[in-house]
Structures are given as structure tokens and as C-alpha cells.
């Protein structure tokens, strides 16, 4: 390679490296701000500011969603596996909002540790399954749960039986 070309090649490498370094350091410094939401663990650890507009996100806990019968108010718990957070929301939840699915809420964290949301968004996962396959998977899951509950039921019944047998 001619020396002039070599020099220009070095300039090109230099531009890319410097740009990467600048952007890398910037995003490292701003990493907390680049995150779209706080996790329930971060909230529990007191990392999230209270009474300021923030977002929190996590998996909606199964059987935690409660809707008021006379208004659009609803409450649900979100979790990241270690901590949970109670969210109050007054409005229409998105169609794909569901328990055991992720959601992101915008609102403010009160001093009582309850998050009051103005907007709730459903966060979709990267899984794509046809309905039949999803049904089959759900059925398998239910079967498993049934089998598990059946065994527990049996153990439940047994103590009931023992007093009867004692009669």
C-alpha cells in the first residue's frame, strides 16, 4: 500500500475509534437515563425518585390484577423476580396487557411506595407462536398443574379420611 493511502487508512480507523470511544463513554455516563424504566428491585432499593414522573416495568404477577366494578380503576403487582411493586391505574389497559406478561407504567411513585400510573403499556416478548401451539402448550401446562393439584388434593383428602375411618 502506498504511504499516502496508508495514512488515509489510519485517518479512517482513527475516526471510527474516536467516535466509538466518545459515544461509548457518553452512553456509559448516561446509562441510567437510557434505561426506559426502573425495575421493582431498584424501586425497593430506593434508587427511583418519589413524586417525580418515572417509568417502572416488570412482569405482571399472576392473580394480582384487580379491577373496580364501578370505574376504570385497577391495581396490579409487577415483579422482576426479587421485588414487587403495587401499581394503581385509572384508565383502559392495552389489549395485550395480561398477567404473567411484561408491562411498563408511566407515573409517579408515592411516599407510601405505591406507584400511581397515568399510562400503562404492554411489553411484548420476542416469542411468536401460532394459536394451536399456544393452546397445546397451555393445555400441557394445565395438565401439569392439575396433576400437581391432584396429588396435593389426595394428601388433603387423606387427613379427612382418617377421622372418618376412626369413627
Amino acid at each position: 500500500m502506498k504511504p499516502a493511502r496508508k495514512q488515509r487508512l489510519l485517518i479512517v480507523v482513527f475516526i471510527v475509534v474516536i467516535a466509538a470511544l466518545v459515544v461509548g463513554l457518553l452512553s456509559y455516563a448516561l446509562r441510567e437515563n437510557i434505561n426506559l424504566f426502573y425495575t421493582p428491585s431498584q424501586v425497593a432499593a430506593g434508587e427511583a425518585p418519589t413524586n417525580a414522573q418515572i417509568r417502572v416495568g416488570g412482569m405482571v404477577v399472576v392473580d394480582s390484577l384487580q379491577r373496580a366494578s364501578d370505574s376504570l380503576d385497577s391495581t396490579f403487582l409487577v415483579t422482576d423476580g426479587t421485588a414487587t411493586l403495587l401499581i394503581h391505574y385509572s384508565g383502559i389497559l392495552p389489549d395485550l396487557f395480561a398477567e404473567d406478561e411484561a408491562a411498563v407504567a408511566t407515573g409517579a411513585l408515592g411516599d407510601d411506595g405505591v406507584f400511581v400510573a397515568q399510562q400503562v403499556l404492554a411489553k411484548h416478548d420476542e416469542e411468536y407462536t401460532p394459536p394451536e401451539v399456544a393452546d397445546a402448550m397451555q393445555q400441557a401446562k394445565d395438565k401439569k398443574a392439575k396433576a400437581a393439584s391432584a396429588t396435593t388434593k389426595q394428601t388433603d383428602i387423606n387427613p379427612e379420611n382418617t377421622p372418618k375411618a376412626a369413627y
Binding site: 467516535a19 426506559l36 425495575t39 399510562q119 403499556l121 404492554a122 411468536y128 407462536t129 401460532p130 394459536p131
Partner: protein, 245 residues
């Protein structure tokens, strides 16, 4: 090898060679995209949770792929043009910019259309979507910059520098969903491991991605050829080409 490289640098030679690829690329992209669209929109099963709205993936993902890959094409052409002072590389860079901008816009637009029924919002300033918007601005910046200098050489150098600086954004877009908490879901198609998508849904997507690659190559060649004719309009070979036989 170097002889081939320098030959490729000749716009005239490139114009003639690329002409031979055009019909095949056109055929491949039409066949693949028509197959992919019909397969994806009519025959692939719908998603259990999203219903039919997931089908926008057959446009959204291929367009995003090529918007990112196309940026590397543009930046690489810019670097080659800068190092070897190759006119043709500059033409490829200028030809790739509007194409990339269009694909980025399609990716953002289809994402917004999908986001409303799925997330509940058209737009959110998360890392993935914001970095994709930055990509659109980079493409638009290159287009604007390439037309704002009176000499081709200055314009080529300015565009190449901007294109090279912007390459930093590509891995950020790609990895944003893993590095930060975003609303956008992580990648369905993984570099390693099986895609988290049913094969019946994934196969048409693969066909669409291949189709978009062919289509990208086709439009890039067409744009470059137009740029060649425009810049070489004073040469005898272009004049001969334009003369009615």
C-alpha cells in the same frame, strides 16, 4: 486481486458488468418478495396473542435488517473512497443514502403501526427506537451533505467522515435491547441458537429477508448506475450510450 480492484474502480466497467446482474437480481427479488408476502400474509398462522397484527413483522424486520446492513455498505464505500480516492466508491455511498433512509423510515413507520395495537402507543423514546431515529437522521444528513458542496471531492470527504462516525450507531441499535431496559422486545432471530418463533412463521420471514437483500442490491446498483451516468455525462462512452443506434 488488485487489478480486479482497480478495474472495479472504473465507472464504465462497473456500468457494463452491473447491467448483466440487473435482470437476475430483479427476478430473484420479485420471486422472493412475492412468495414471502403471500406466504407470510395469507398462509402463515396468526400469533396466539397478537392475532394478525404480528404479520407486519414480514416488512418491519427485513426493512430494519437492510437499514442497518445498508449503513455499513455506505460507510465502507465512504472509507474506500477516502483511502483509495475512488470515484466509484463515492458514487455507491451517495446511491446508498436515500435507499437506507427509505428503509429506516419503513422500519420506524411499520413499528409505530404495530406498536399501537401491541404496546398501546405509537411512539416511545426507548433506546432502540431513539437510536433508529438517529439512524434516519444520519442518512438524511448524508443526503443533505452530499448536495451542499460545490466540489465533488469535498462533498465526498465530508460525507465519508459523517458516515464513518455514524457507524458507531449500528451496534448500538442492534444491542440496545440487551444493554438497556427498553419497551422494544429483544431480537427474535438470534445470531446463535434457534429463533424464538414457530418455524411456520419463521420460514416466510427468512424468504422476505433474502428478498429484501436482493431488492437492496438491485436498487443500489440502479442508483449507482444513475449516479455514474450523471457524473460521467461528458465522457464519450456515455454519449455513445445515449445516442440512438
Amino acid at each position: 486481486m488488485w487489478q480486479w480492484f482497480h478495474k472495479l474502480g472504473s465507472p464504465r466497467w462497473f456500468y457494463h458488468i452491473s447491467g448483466k446482474f440487473l435482470p437476475w437480481l430483479a427476478l430473484a427479488s420479485v420471486v422472493l418478495i412475492v412468495t414471502g408476502v403471500v406466504w407470510g400474509l395469507a398462509f402463515a398462522p396468526q400469533d396466539a396473542r397478537q392475532g394478525n397484527s404480528f404479520r407486519i413483522i414480514y416488512i418491519h424486520v427485513p426493512a430494519s435488517f437492510l437499514a442497518l446492513a445498508g449503513y455499513y455498505v455506505m460507510a465502507a464505500a465512504g472509507a474506500v473512497g477516502m483511502i483509495w480516492k475512488m470515484k466509484l466508491a463515492d458514487m455507491v455511498m451517495v446511491a446508498a443514502a436515500p435507499l437506507g433512509a427509505a428503509l429506516t423510515f419503513i422500519a420506524l413507520f411499520t413499528g409505530a403501526v404495530w406498536g399501537k395495537p401491541t404496546w398501546g402507543t405509537y411512539w416511545i423514546w426507548d433506546a432502540r427506537i431513539t437510536s433508529m431515529l438517529v439512524l434516519l437522521f444520519l442518512y438524511i444528513g448524508i443526503i443533505a451533505l452530499s448536495r451542499s458542496f460545490s466540489t465533488r471531492e469535498t462533498s465526498a470527504r465530508a460525507c465519508a467522515i459523517l458516515a464513518l462516525v455514524g457507524t458507531v450507531n449500528i451496534p448500538i441499535i442492534y444491542k440496545s435491547v440487551d444493554w438497556w431496559y427498553t419497551l422494544h422486545q429483544p431480537a427474535t432471530i438470534k445470531m446463535t441458537g434457534a429463533p424464538s418463533m414457530h418455524p411456520d412463521m419463521f420460514k416466510p420471514l427468512l424468504v422476505m429477508i433474502l428478498g429484501f437483500y436482493c431488492f437492496y442490491a438491485l436498487v443500489l446498483l440502479l442508483n449507482t448506475r444513475t449516479e455514474i451516468l450523471l457524473r460521467e455525462s461528458r465522457t464519450t462512452w456515455v454519449k455513445e450510450l445515449a445516442e440512438p443506434k
